[in-house]
Symmetry: C2
Subunit: 464 residues, 2 copies
């Protein structure tokens, strides 16, 4: 690489980005108009259409793009290898599938008719993850258009099964590990800490999703004739669930927290310094007061501590009015969020053992595992963080904040395991953009700041 | 009354009953074919049809019958007053409405196509209560046909809101108390203790039916982003419910059991002597082992102790698969069965106070009362029990067993309060006839023994 190429001079790229701003917004609208809902069979063709659209857009940007079809939704793989074998290779990951829109009547404008309002674009998938995926492509386009080349080799992988926890990408990565070999992996599928506060996610919680079903009498029993003489499976389930936490909100399933590692004191101190207030978070969550495990701050509860949450309950008579029965069964849908160094398989075993031990004679409990993902902690890769720092300083005018992530991004672990490269989780969403709720949106300013950040980041990585 | 009339000679009546057996079965089938489901608006016309059918059948038997229409389902009132003002007046109560059939695919034959099988008639309402109501009418018909008169004056009241807990009968009784004045009230809406074991119910449990709903965040929250930092309303509900009982199955809601009166030692000893085995009851309930409050037998748990049972639970995501949310709310449908001298209004207050005290900050609980009925204990009326004893000895060849009732029959209290007459609860159903479940049925032998028992009972009461 010659020194000219290495000077960070994004002005030419920036002016290109500004000139093409309206076209980029239009492209984002086009992308968001395709209802690529991976969970719903009726959108199967839309998934194909979204993958096609993406491949065409990548080709338009100057990359070589392929669509890999197989048992799941298509995987889009694009490459630009013009930087030479000496230059670093950066793998950018994103997903083109979106969550189901949910109740359409709760949307101010239809979920698949993208609408610009107050500097935001409203549509399902705007922030999660179409907007954050497209900004990378548009940055690549700008660099290639202005300079005729990129400062690094680039591989872009976009999948269509992120929202359904599909496993086809994991096997694709395994199968193409040689081709995907890279120096760093960049993922933009997360949020900043707040407006103007870019954040690097350094940990992710894992997950174990379970169904716990308790079976009682073989049929509905009249609660007058049988009430008080048989074990009510709904009550047995309530007691199993209620026993998970002690009065201080600690999970007391034996062994559950044994492997939880508190963050180092220095990092907890850094956490306490983050521009975050409980009050703002409480308002955003729309709850009267916050809750959680005693002895930890809200951010620690969110990023450093595991959870056991109930997502759904169903048993017996759920219609209007009374039906005085002892129900034959009761079901809870739950998940445990895990932190390093908890192991999903071990947690699964511990929960099963706990449920078994707490199931009274007279009923039978069944635990079904729906999905698991391990927790993740960033490997130290100072050069990668240095490049990210340089990029956000150039665009946001400040260092990125080092934060945790409360959710799970299973693909991060898949990439780490198969490719061994460090991962940079640098997102451009904002808290409250409703990624899985009605009226999802994405701040257009961050769509554009994200493009500039990517451009500078690639420049910085190219100088490595 | 002349002495001839008073001699118990049921042979002529019995032979009439036998001669008309097939027509009676056919009439029961006709009655059961009318889907008089009081809870479902779509069956409004069927309710009217059932009331009409009943009035016509009563007129055919020789009574004067009226249909009272009003805000609720029709009330059928029939009378035969030919015994004279000196003779006792017996009020017979029954209901012509039935429970919804529930999942039709669980019925071996359709719920409203009555089918004879193995000496039983299968249909919704067979035992609860159309069969038990009709047997009284057929006994009246036989007496009137054979003798030209009845040994007592008879009032028959049949309502169409028993299964929905409607309150229109209560006001009807209040409004017509003078006309309904009687010496005794006979109700057949309960079960014998087993085949060939007629039973007199001497207590009934009351009920307080409630919905407990816990409200958390204003919208679904992503359990990755918010898990561990807000109070999950489903978990709060589970903890409220789980706290109702201690480890021994005792209800520990403060004050809840203060007014529970244990049965006198003599009666508990009688209870222990009943031909009842836990094993047979366990099999009938289709559970692996029985449960309940420590320190009490199964029959005591059923008749002498109060309950807190969950009928239904619903919260958040109940469809297939995972949806990692903290739900905005969680609902439990519950009821407490009450025993003398518990008071429904007081229990309602105590449960509300308990729920409030157990609701953690961060969520809000709402308790809605759906229905209440006080517990009931038979007033001593030796002459009435003597007549019942005579009747079951003549037909079943044995004394009636004195039992409790686990369920609630609110109208019994309404009658007692308004009319002041003693109530005889003498049912001809059998345990396991699935009154509120699929494949409800009624033993034809008991349909016929019930007619004979009524005939002898009226003779005995006429001799008073």
């Amino acid at each position: 690489m010659n020194p000219t190429k290495n000077t960070p001079t994004p002005d030419d790229i920036e002016s290109y980005l500004i000139r093409h701003r309206h076209r980029y917004r239009q492209e984002l609208c086009d992308f968001l108009s395709i209802p690529s809902v991976s969970a719903q069979q009726e959108h199967r063709d839309d998934m194909v259409q979204a993958a096609d659209w993406l491949a065409a857009n990548l080709r338009g940007a100057g990359l070589i793009a392929e669509i890999h079809t197989g048992p799941g939704h298509p995987i889009v793989l694009a490459e630009w290898r013009g930087a030479g074998s000496e230059a670093p290779t950066v793998l950018i990951y994103g997903h083109y599938d979106v969550e189901p829109p949910g109740p359409v009547e709760l949307w101010r404008t239809p979920p698949f008719e993208p609408t610009l309002r107050e500097g935001r674009i409203y549509a399902r998938g705007a922030t999660d993850d179409k907007g954050q995926l497209l900004l990378h492509i548009k940055a690549l386009e700008a660099c290639l258009a202005v300079r005729g080349e990129l400062p690094v080799n680039v591989i872009l992988v976009a999948e269509g099964e992120e929202e359904t926890g599909g496993s086809h990408l994991a096997s694709f990565i395994e199968a193409h590990a040689d081709r995907l070999r890279c120096s760093a992996i960049v993922v933009s599928d997360s949020a900043m800490l707040g407006p103007g506060m870019p954040a690097l996610v350094t940990t992710l919680r894992g997950i174990v999703s379970l169904e716990i079903e308790v079976f009682g009498p073989a049929r509905e029993l009249h609660s007058g004739e049988y009430g008080g003489t048989v074990v009510n499976p709904a009550m047995a389930l309530a007691r199993i669930l209620a026993g998970v936490h002690d009065a201080d909100g600690r999970i007391v399933i034996p062994g559950f927290t044994d492997r939880c590692r508190d963050w180092p004191e220095a990092q907890r101190a850094e956490l306490a310094e983050l521009p975050f207030t409980d009050e703002a978070f409480r308002e955003e969550a729309a709850v009267p007061v916050l809750g959680g495990e005693a002895g930890f701050t809200t951010l620690e509860r969110r990023w450093m501590r595991p959870t056991f949450e109930i997502h759904g309950l169903v048993s017996g008579h759920t219609d209007e009015g009374t039906k005085s029965i002892i129900p034959p069964s009761a079901l809870a849908k739950v998940s445990c969020r895990l932190v390093p160094d908890q192991n999903p398989e071990e947690i699964d075993r511990l929960v099963r053992a706990y449920v078994e031990e707490r199931t009274p004679p007279g009923v039978r409990a069944e635990v079904r595992t729906l999905a698991t993902a391990p927790p993740w902690r960033a490997h130290s890769a100072d050069w990668l963080y240095a490049a990210a720092t340089q990029a956000t300083e150039a665009t946001f005018g400040r260092l990125p904040l080092r934060v945790g992530g409360g959710g799970s991004i299973p693909v991060v672990t898949d990439f780490t395991r198969a490719l061994g490269a460090p991962v940079l989780l640098l997102g451009f969403g904002l808290p409250g953009e409703n990624p899985h709720a009605p009226n999802e949106h994405f701040e257009l300013e961050n769509f554009e700041l994200g493009m500039r950040t990517t451009a500078v980041l690639l420049e910085s990585l190219g100088r490595r």
